[in-house]
Amino acid sequence: MTSSLLFNITTLLYLASMLAFFAAIVNRTKPFFGTAGSYIAFGGLLLQTVAIGLRWKESYLLGIGHAPLSNLYESVVFFSWTIVLIYGILDLKYRYRVIGAFVMPFALLGMAWAQLGMKSGIEPLVPALQSNWLLYHVITCFLGYAAFAVACGISIMYLIREKHDKVAQANEQSIVATFPPSRVLDDLNYKSIMIGFPLLTLGIVTGAAWANYAWGTYWSWDPKETWSLIVWFIYAAFLHARITRGWAGRRAAWLSIIGFAATIFCYLGVNLLLSGLHSYGG
């Protein structure tokens, strides 16, 4: 059995999970769909964990052993994994299954793009990446990114719910009525960012530590570094906004969505559109 096959099955499971969540929204009388969505997602997460481990092992069998976090393909796969992981943590803790309908599409999109649109060969590690810092840096950054992805999904839900609440006060038949109340969504958005922000901070710090160790400069205003700081500023603003009433709710949801857009630009846009030190696509 190869990791590549397992990644394909994972992609299908994430698709199935997403469809189950959609069904859960439409059939609000059948809680079965939401439960199924969660369990399929967890099954996919488990399988993907095995697949990542297997790919790691395969690289050693090729004689070029390294953690599978070295290029765009591997990072996108890992990003999907972290998104489902963060979703799983929130699901187990707060039991609002249906947010999966707005989170699993991100994980599915990542896996589908990686499996269908990218070269998946295991390449040897270029000298710049031959360091244990790679592991700490990439893991913390992507866990942070994933928490922001989840927060973004929840914020989109919030905006839909909020708009719906305004228009139809008591129309409980609507699909949107299955969404958690807007107050809860606002809180979940905040909680996800509370997970993401420390991790992003740790990701930037480990990146700085690595840069200092490898190049003698902890900060050089490289586009990737600058964009990670931009993302950090946006979420710092989000956190401070919680203290002032005027910035909770809708504005906070928009800040969260803008924050994730900046995150995606930091992750992909910088590599695809700008030039700099992070040219290996991680």
Binding site: I64, E123, P124, V126, P127, A128, Q130, S131, W133, M194, F197, P198, T201, L202, V205, A208, A209, N212, Y213, A214, W215, G216, T217, Y218, W219, W221, P223, T226, W227, L229, I230, F233, I234, A236, A237, H240, A241, I243, T244, W247, A262, V270, L274
Partner: protein
């Protein structure tokens, strides 16, 4: 009517304490930072300068866009952020400090009305027995209470992690600490670059601001090597370095391998493997096709020259022994690229022991005979050099920030007050964070208390 007009110093102080200023600086910093990721920083490459108009160039230069992260307006924004968080801390810290060091131990009426989790339990038994039972439950379930007596009423107070209230200020302080570390680094440190040819030593490096810096010792490159993966991708760039003091190797710094991600540090100065290249000179001769009128032609490794007919010649690669690549041939050889007058580029090999084969290139060299005579070539290594005495301050700031954020987000100052009178136990509490979780905890605590107290009507 009362204080609608604030004094000017008060308004300035309020301005620097305001959260609006925080939001403004954070969002402005985020938006303006984008500029430097789109416009090249430092010395812009000539292709970029050609792509923009003169007016734009003037504008960008005037605004400091080519070094925007050190421009006055960016530094101003960072200073504004620093002042803002400093002012906020100065304003709020004394009150927080009082809350931590001098806790309110007695739940009076005014405090009682602010507590969301207030519960009264009607019970029997005298106050002393009740006090001891409640104290035991609090100690087991929460924290040991402090007991204050007033007029036959007992006040119990217990709290957990009061210092977690300081975490926010620790995070704010950490930002300032990181800035201080960066300033120390820029004042007392430098970043530089040096190329060392194999077998040679250097005692000076060139800083980024183009100043020559004396190291106070010398670094000698013994050897530089590149290894490759089977697929041809580079695997390792390695410089073998020796530190020399007064021309003698320093113990422990003799023949140290330095690779990417594994630098060499000596006396606070660190050397990082950064680039490499070949240095050397090669001699060619150019003559009439029969070999007469021979003229020497010197080309540097990787360099270029002009042939007599005006076409350009680039030296690509050389070898002291061609037999490794082409069996049946021998001696030194060079691969060159010639830019012909018709715009075509032609790559071919020039030999030193094979005039017959060199003659085949006559059409590309303007009818002249080009021959390779050999050359000397050696590797050089390119090292980044850095000295940053502020880096430890930056790490202290980073650790403070990470720990501070963790505590600020995930730990709460929780306080519980209990008033014990004979026949009544009143319990209330609050938490600086996670009200929902604390509510649950309080409900459970009340349930446990009820089990331990002799209830009046236990139905």
């Amino acid at each position: 009517m009362t204080s609608s007009k604030k004094s000017i110093p008060q308004s300035i102080w309020d301005f620097f304490c305001s959260l609006k200023l925080t939001m403004f600086t954070l969002i402005t910093l985020a938006v303006l930072s984008i500029v430097g990721t789109v416009i090249p920083q430092g010395t812009p490459p000539p292709e970029y300068l050609h792509s923009i108009s003169q007016n734009k160039l003037k504008l960008y230069k005037g605004l400091g866009f080519f070094d925007m992260y050190h421009s006055w307006w960016f530094i101003l924004l960072l200073s504004l952020l620093s002042l803002n968080l400093l002012a906020c801390s100065v304003k709020r810290l004394p009150g927080i400090w009082r809350t931590i060091t001098r806790p309110v131990r007695v739940m009076d009426d005014s405090l009682e009305t602010t507590l969301p989790n207030l519960t009264s339990i009607i019970t029997s038994g005298d106050a002393v027995t009740l006090r001891d039972r409640v104290a035991a439950v609090m100690k087991a379930e929460f924290a040991e209470p402090v007991i204050t007596e007033a007029d036959g009423t007992y006040h119990l107070f217990a709290q957990k992690t009061p210092w977690s209230r300081l975490a926010v200020y620790a995070v704010h302080l950490s930002v300032l600490v990181i800035f201080i570390g960066a300033i120390i680094g820029s004042l007392f440190g430098y970043k530089g670059f040096v190329n060392i040819p194999e077998g040679e030593s250097v005692g000076k490096v060139m800083s980024r601001s183009e100043k020559e810096i004396d190291l106070g010792f010398a670094v000698h490159l013994e050897k530089f090597s590149v290894s490759h993966y089977p697929n041809g991708a580079p695997k390792e760039f390695k410089s073998i370095l020796t530190v020399l003091e007064n021309g003698k190797p320093v113990a422990g710094y003799d023949r140290v391998p330095v690779i990417v991600n594994d630098p060499l540090s000596y006396k606070g100065i660190t050397f990082y493997q950064s680039s490499y290249g070949k240095l050397g000179e090669h001699e060619f001769t150019i003559s009439d096709s029969d070999g007469s009128n021979s003229q020497p032609l010197i080309v540097k490794s990787g360099g270029s020259t002009k042939l007599p007919d005006g076409s350009g010649l680039c030296l690509q690669e050389t070898t002291p022994d061609i037999s490794r690549f082409q069996t049946g041939l021998s001696g030194p050889a060079a691969q060159v690229e010639v830019h012909l007058a018709n715009g075509e580029n032609k790559t071919f090999v020039v030999y030193s022991n094979n005039p017959a084969m060199n003659r085949m290139n006559l059409p590309y060299t303007g009818g002249k005979l080009l021959q390779y005579r050999g050359g000397e070539e050696f590797m050089y290594t390119g090292l980044q050099v850095a000295k940053d005495p502020g880096v430890w301050v930056v790490w202290v700031g980073c650790i403070l920030m990470v720990v501070g954020i963790y505590v600020a987000f995930f730990m709460a100052h929780r306080r519980i007050w209990v008033r014990v009178e004979s026949g009544t136990v009143t319990i209330g509490g609050n938490s600086s964070k996670n009200q929902g979780g604390f509510q649950l905890f309080m409900e459970q605590l009340v349930t446990k208390l009820k089990k331990q107290l002799p209830l009046e009507d236990n139905k």
